[in-house]
Symmetry: C2
Subunit: 419 residues, 2 copies
């Protein structure tokens, strides 16, 4: 494959993670190694920046800032939920790419980001615009196919397991045989995050907290729930429950705090599964229950990030640039777990076109037969992903994060009517 | 004052903090320095253990465990909300103390713990039982009088400010002019904790997140709230709100998620102030709003603990033992801030009898005139309390906390019917 000279563009799409900027840093630092990459541009606010020509000069950022990205949560380029759908939007993107001589496009994101990267790649081929498109996986939801796991997931479950372990110390102290505490975690359609809470248990300590985990994969039944809670409270002096926000009943309706309150059981959007369980416990068991909702902290707790995850996010960014330099296009970087013990991981490539087809579900075989805990196979899978800590720099008692200077790249085209 | 020889008892009461075990470690390590203290007992589960003779031998614990207490959240001896009220319960406590030759009693807790310590002290005098009672302050609510601040508060607000700063990175990335995010913090009757979130702002950066702070001290008005949010969204691309769970309306009723839903506006117990604000935003401004509820993490996030706070908690425990050895009784250790800059702090003593009378309110003068931020005086007060980090040991990717062996002390009395 002949050398392709031109500019590189990187964008971040979808919900941030605490390590998505590490992938950005990996891309920038690797791009600097290759002379055929002339300018390194960042597209602002996901695909919006590609339609609006909102580019910033990443090579103009200081080394300190690029290094600081490695421990800074959020998406430093901005992100967004706007989706490229219309054909004319895709044509516009190519027009913008041509105007700025973009020859390398790196899209960091989840399945939607990979899908749009795939369409850009195909359209470039159709138009004969020489472009190399590589996707970099990013999602705390861990649901991309073809990759063993997704950058962002390890740090999210490390935060969840850390917080559950800390809360367990509090709840254990309060426990007199009737103390119930609920931790609600994200995951609208899968239990990957809720399952990760099980890492808070000591190895081979099945009775350690969290005592009960309710996953979207297991249809919720109030009767079974009451039995579960009673069983734990016969054995322990407190009961620590983790619930995924996407919990559903046997008919697939979301369990929501307004279920049965405003408009009867059965909701189409998730909301307040933790409070719903708390209300059930108060009304039916007569016990107090307080819900902690980890919310946005799950995807931004850089102080609880996994070094393994952070390093892999960086590595994935570097690998994307190297693959493009080698002539690859229309591919997403994947993480491939080695067969060895201890854990090892290297990067691979998979077709972008496959990313829109299907999501990786939490393996049902990894759920313990009791339906409220994970078995050893899950532990074996997830445990390596949370290893190692990040030394986030502190100043004045708080973590110090960086922001990009965002030196704007001059626009070259007419204003485009987005939306 | 003549030397008093006998045993020491320490108990922990009320909700745990992430540094309440540091006070316990301070008491144990200091007690070992004094030969007149023969045995070092821990009372289990707050005052319950004093009624039931549930004592453990703290001197039998390993040095490693006592050291590990310094970074272990929760209350290692167990705690509880049971209150000593009946005269016969107090008589029982003295009987138990006499049977075990307890001559030094250290009660770590909030205002209720100090009040019961005071009554035990008075009753001992009346009965001629030579006993020295010293209280050690503990509460994330920061509401004890006579002390500049309370051990536990600094770590709680460091956790809150850290998490708000992390979430802000996420929310900033998502912001396109219409992104609203809410963080609900504890504090049923005061805004000490919500106010602490303001430390997440950079110094002299009033426009930094959190953009709006709603305190129980400032009567909530939906009209003002809408104005506040609109003002922020004109200036910023996102709006990060912090709300104390004890938010009230102009009539003093708690703002609750079920306000106006189940039984009309006006509730006697707090619950879901964050979700209530989120619903208001969705219904009245047509914007999505997601609420993170920090919950129990605020009093257990040892990985976000303040070294200053942790050291002061330890110091307060040591000072309690020293005061008792010197012959003091019926006193609580206080923290006295030096007049110097940089910050310094030493311990003092205040009468236990004063602790039940009044709580220390958040100074209204420290709230900015906009009603939704704190001024420089609050910053000056709170900022030193979050300085420094704790090196919590990690193993297998998660913080390692200790548990006491809890070697039981033999009972000497008939079973007592508690309750």
């Amino acid at each position: 494959m002949s050398e392709l000279t031109g500019n590189l563009l990187v964008a971040q799409s979808g919900g941030p993670t605490s390590v998505v900027n590490s992938s950005l840093a990996g891309i920038v630092s690797e791009a600097l190694n290759h002379e055929c990459i002339e300018e390194i541009y960042g597209g602002l606010n996901g695909v919006m920046g590609m339609l609006n020509e909102d580019f910033v000069d990443l090579a103009a950022e200081s080394q300190q800032t690029i290094r600081g990205l490695r421990h800074t949560p959020g998406a430093a380029l901005g992100t967004g939920r706007f989706k490229l759908k219309k054909q004319q939007d895709y044509e516009r993107v190519l027009e913008v790419f041509a105007a700025h001589n973009i020859r390398y496009f790196m899209h960091i994101g989840g399945s939607e980001a990979q899908e749009s990267a795939d369409r850009i790649d195909q359209l470039a081929r159709e138009h004969g615009h020489d472009l190399r498109v590589i996707g970099v996986p990013k999602t705390i939801d861990n649901d991309l196919v073809h990759t063993d796991h997704c950058p962002g997931y390890g740090s999210a479950i490390k935060h969840i397991a850390t917080t559950v372990r800390e809360i367990a110390c509090d709840n254990r102290a309060m426990g007199q045989g009737e103390f119930v505490s609920i931790v609600e975690v994200m995951g609208r359609s899968s239990g990957w995050l809720a399952a990760g809470a099980s890492l808070a248990k000591g190895k081979d300590q099945p009775h350690d907290p969290p005592h009960l985990i309710y996953l979207p994969e297991v249809a919720f039944s109030p009767e079974k729930f009451f039995e579960d809670v009673r069983r734990v409270l016969r054995r322990e002096k407190y009961c620590l429950i983790v619930v995924g926000e996407g919990l559903v009943d046997k008919d697939g309706n979301y369990i929501s705090v307004t279920s049965g309150l405003a408009d009867g059981y059965g909701h189409t959007t998730p909301g307040g599964a933790g409070d719903y369980l708390g209300n059930l416990i108060e009304e039916s068991l007569g016990l107090k229950a307080r819900t902690t909702r980890l919310g946005y902290a799950q995807r931004s707790a850089a102080t609880h990030a996994s070094k393994t995850d952070n390093d892999e996010a960086y590595l994935a960014g570097q690998a994307a640039v190297r693959a493009a330099i080698k002539g690859e296009s229309g591919r997403m970087v994947t993480l491939i777990r080695g067969d060895t013990d201890p854990y090892s991981c290297e990067t691979g490539l998979a077709p972008l076109a496959d990313m829109a087809n299907g999501i990786k579900e939490l393996t049902r075989d990894w759920v313990h037969e009791d339906g409220v805990s994970m078995n050893h196979q899950f532990y074996k899978y997830a445990h390596p992903l949370i290893q190692g800590e990040i030394a986030v720099p502190y100043a004045n008692g708080l973590p110090e994060f960086v922001q990009l200077r965002r030196e704007a790249v001059e626009k070259r085209l007419e204003v485009y009517p987005v939306g």
